[in-house]
Symmetry: C2
Subunit: 402 residues, 2 copies
Amino acid sequence: MAKVAVLGYGTVGSGVVEVLDTNAAEVEKSAGEKIELKYILDLRDFPGDKHESQVVHDINVILDDPEVDVICETMGGIEPAFTFEKQALSKGKSVCTSNKELVAAHGPELVELAKANGVSYLFEASVGGGIPVLRSLNDSLKHEKIDSITGILNGTTNYILTKMDKEGIGFETVLKQAQEKGYAERNPEADVEGYDACRKIAILSSLMSGKHVDYEDIYTEGISKINIQDFEYARSLNMAIKLLAMCKRNENGFFTIVAPFLIPYENPLANVNGVFNAINVHGNMLGDVMFYGKGAGKNATASAVVADVIDMVKHKGKHIEVNMKAEKATLSPKDNAVRHFFVRVSAELEDQAREIFGSNLDVVKRNSIPNEFAFITDSISEKDFEEKLWKMDSVKGYIRLY
Amino acid sequence: MAKVAVLGYGTVGSGVVEVLDTNAAEVEKSAGEKIELKYILDLRDFPGDKHESQVVHDINVILDDPEVDVICETMGGIEPAFTFEKQALSKGKSVCTSNKELVAAHGPELVELAKANGVSYLFEASVGGGIPVLRSLNDSLKHEKIDSITGILNGTTNYILTKMDKEGIGFETVLKQAQEKGYAERNPEADVEGYDACRKIAILSSLMSGKHVDYEDIYTEGISKINIQDFEYARSLNMAIKLLAMCKRNENGFFTIVAPFLIPYENPLANVNGVFNAINVHGNMLGDVMFYGKGAGKNATASAVVADVIDMVKHKGKHIEVNMKAEKATLSPKDNAVRHFFVRVSAELEDQAREIFGSNLDVVKRNSIPNEFAFITDSISEKDFEEKLWKMDSVKGYIRLY
């Protein structure tokens, strides 16, 4: 019998409790022993709740109980979660979490602390909700040289972009609808500016590099500048527009970026719609494998937390290796990344565009979008592109091509 | 240091050797110790091959060598693979394989034999090439009640169907092209009649039910009756046609089927094109998760075999639980499965169709397909449908709806 404490009885925490209750038999079969919920830490009381009697308000009750083997931190945010996790690991308790902010900021040092204490630190639910991508990277695919990871990691922005594309509604209107439906937060910045996707790709990049990729080092662009005319051009090019988060291995190390990209329809990432997430992993032997599912949602996320609990119970007294060290990874500068760019320019600047970007530009014009045209550049570096862009009198917008 | 033997130096077997060579450092890191190839069993010699000196012709050399911990059976076919695997397991060697025929026919008894001998029997590569779906089912998702598994499990038929849809070319012509490109066998029956997909869903269904689902009990229809007019109707309905293999849990147990299905474009399975495979797993807490990748190919399949080798080396001296028993599973009869059907009928039979299938039929007509019409039935059981179909003077074809 293994005993578990859940920190934070909010959406994910109550989901974890629900999975442990509903699937108790399957959980036991999977773990090889019964798993019992001993404590729930929360500031609130939950009178009438089935687990009312397990609620405690003092973390020390949990930390000081030698019966507790595993702690699920589902509070979110940096503090006090960070302190609680450090204390738990130092006391020889394994910790798992859905807290992407904390994992992105301090995951590698928490892995090291777990290792030093002979316990484990896992965080499957911090990326892609219930999609078992971290465990696959850490397990089935660990013998691969991973060349790249490319993901649609934020369901809110993908929902917004899909709506804009399929229904021709502008960003602000769709965002408002998403907020009304509860798909977007009242303060949507973390999603629409790409910060959430940035944290998730930081976690994936850390696993890929074996070091700590700091999310603050990742170039991040959101979707708020994308408009319905961009989609009209995209459709005429047989492409979708998606907020991609990617990490690529190159000769100098790793390059990571979060930005909207044009993706040809034949790429499966182009067909990931609505609130779904997808993560494509490319291994040197394996080629491409893609994982797809709902990237959020109470029960899916909770199921991933429980998968970590089971893994830690199965490995009680052992440290489960996670390919991350606290040493900071050096990322290749964005400047050197080479790709095509889609650029929109006023009609009168066509000569200037040809002068700067090349005389045989690949030009796209739409009758329904008068007084302007778009073109796709040759394959050039981000730095070159930026320099050329500065030479233009003005541009109406640009999007990278995947 | 763990020592491995590969049985069969064909496509997959040589791929396994290549993965062990190319990714030796990653393999060692993942397994926690060095993995050395000690023997290759093959009838042929391979003069000049890097591993020439490791080739042996007598299985007993391998079976009698106590240093060999793990055997990769990549010969294919039932015999002598079955005998070799049984001998190896009985001698306390773990076995992994890419051999779907053998796993579908005898997998569960081989799992039991492995368990009885305290070793492991794994077969990740037998379904979906390099896609880590079996390990996920057996590991990350084991605490879920899996309600259904639906897959596009055969790359050849998916290539053919995709070509027919996108290029409007008939089945026979596309098949011939696929054979010329090496995507289809000279004798394409196993692929186009659904037998290959049937074996793979038998393996997945066995894992889902915990028993042995006999592939001979699975109702299987191939794609040879699908024609380009079916695709024309399908496109007008915003649907794709895919060969699906599925296993669903119902109140009486499990129902499994392999057949072409019409799938709405908004379902991600509809967008799995070309030689790609995809497997959608639905768990009671998790909801849908889809795994996507190339379902075949030397290195991808070999990478999955090596993942099994690593897992077995990590669990040396232990049996890795696999949710399968030799006891035969009882499948629900096909008759009770309820769904919509798409039916094509001669124009003059419209009155008869309305009489038999209901007066307010959902009729589809295409100007380009004269003298006939199609309709979609209400949701009815397979048995009802069959009985109604018998009452019609004739039908031009029918396809199930997903």
